[in-house]
Symmetry: C2
Subunit: 263 residues, 2 copies
């Protein structure tokens, strides 16, 4: 690959949160990253390996100006003033630089590992992508607008259970609903369009052939990402939620599932 090729490539940030040195997750991570490097320049946040500090606390504001207001207001002010800790600013810069965000993690207790939640808590902070006001609605830029708008994200999730248990009407709740707070409430809230989640089910029970098949499936998915359409959620700007912040009854009438928020 020549320098000019590299300069033309889009940027990706690959966030990875699994603690084990030898694991299915790391194996998939290595393969997926290699595949991604064919089409992107790839920055990596291997959270356990880099020793990322996952706890949001007042220490994050110790070098920030105290406005006398509450924690939230101080956080927003510190974000604007560039007064957040260096590790947080570095992760934010990697996110700003990325066209594509890939986040890979094992599903632990039907959510993300604490390490990954800590990255979200501290890096997305008090509204990383939403510090402006939407000129059309007068509301804060969120749910489809804001500084991160136009970026895309792919979640890669390993789960011990099968696709039925984690599928529609499955006893554990369907994976899209379980991850709604991440895909919609974090990524789309901040302007980022997520792709359909790439799930690896029965992850604890794969034999070598099963692992090889999952590696191939993941590499194929990533190789085709450029031509894939992300999920489109309803934007706040669309008016579908006015005047209340609940979806107007003319859309998906009578339903209460989270799929109603897809456009």
């Amino acid at each position: 690959m020549t320098v000019s090729d590299t300069q033309a490539l889009p940027h990706a940030l690959y966030v990875f949160a699994h603690p084990a040195e030898h694991s299915l997750n790391r194996h998939l991570f290595d393969a997926a990253r290699a595949e991604l490097e064919n089409t992107h320049t790839v920055a990596t946040s291997d959270l356990y390996k880099m020793g990322f500090q996952p706890l949001l606390s007042p220490a994050d504001l110790e070098h920030a100006t105290d406005s006398g207001a509450g924690f939230l207001e101080n956080w927003i002010a510190a974000q604007h003033a560039g007064e957040l800790p260096a590790d947080v600013r570095a992760e934010q810069q990697k996110l700003f630089d990325a066209d594509l965000l890939v986040i890979q993690f094992p599903l632990w207790w039907y959510g993300v590992p604490a390490m990954l939640k800590g990255w979200i808590d501290r890096v997305f902070g008090a509204g990383l992508g939403t510090d402006g006001v939407d000129s059309e609605t007068g509301l804060p830029e969120r749910y489809g607008a804001g500084r991160l708008a136009g970026k895309r994200a792919l979640l890669i999730v390993t789960a011990g259970e099968d696709a039925r248990t984690l599928g529609p009407r499955g006893i554990s709740g369907d994976l899209d609903s379980i991850l709604f707070g991440l895909r919609h409430g974090t990524l789309f809230y901040s302007g980022i369009d997520p792709y359909e989640t790439h799930a690896i089910f029965n992850a604890d029970g794969l034999d070598p052939e099963g692992v090889a098949a999952e590696v191939t499936r993941l590499r194929t998915r990533i190789a085709g990402l450029a031509t894939e359409e992300p999920v489109r959620f309803r934007t706040l700007r669309s008016g579908d939620y006015r005047p209340a912040r609940a979806l107007r009854e003319e859309f998906a009438p009578g339903r209460r599932d989270l799929e109603i928020h897809r456009a």
Copy 2:
């Protein structure tokens, strides 16, 4: 209160996850704990204050026997053998001793703070309440059965948004769905019946009268908890999910929302 009174009281474990020394959350925590002490002996896990280490990693198994199997199998074996780290075992013991589990946290990015997720990841571990086999189904004891069955839990959650935004069809997803992985996938999975969640909305914008009203509402809720019925989810043992792990079509036909899992 006399010694005999104390001995007769049920036990509660109050887990609290907010970093700020002076905050609405701590104010509510102090009030709720005082109220709870009228009816329970109360153990506390003030996670930030106790410096709880939230990252599940191979270090948690460094004193455990390595069976040569995977991380999950080693974790389960370590749990059975009492070889988990002392801080994890101490929290597990507090949970075993409790009749009522109270968990209080701010809603950050539509989920629990990393600190609390870390407590769940490490303390619930590889299936704290589910290490047996259900004699009726032959399946692992989960979703309404197991070692923790009979306990109850109350979530106390502060949220910056209002009740409509976090209500049915609200743009952020309704709070019950967003917390499904915790209430159903963690607590009920492990046998614990959750009460309806106690939510404090608009938490960043409360004036002193609003705070006082929320304190009163929370104390009243806790004072009446003994006569309140918890939410009843469908158990795995019920057969409602057989033969697949998806809810049989005769129940809540056509629906895909997470409320279908209520009994």
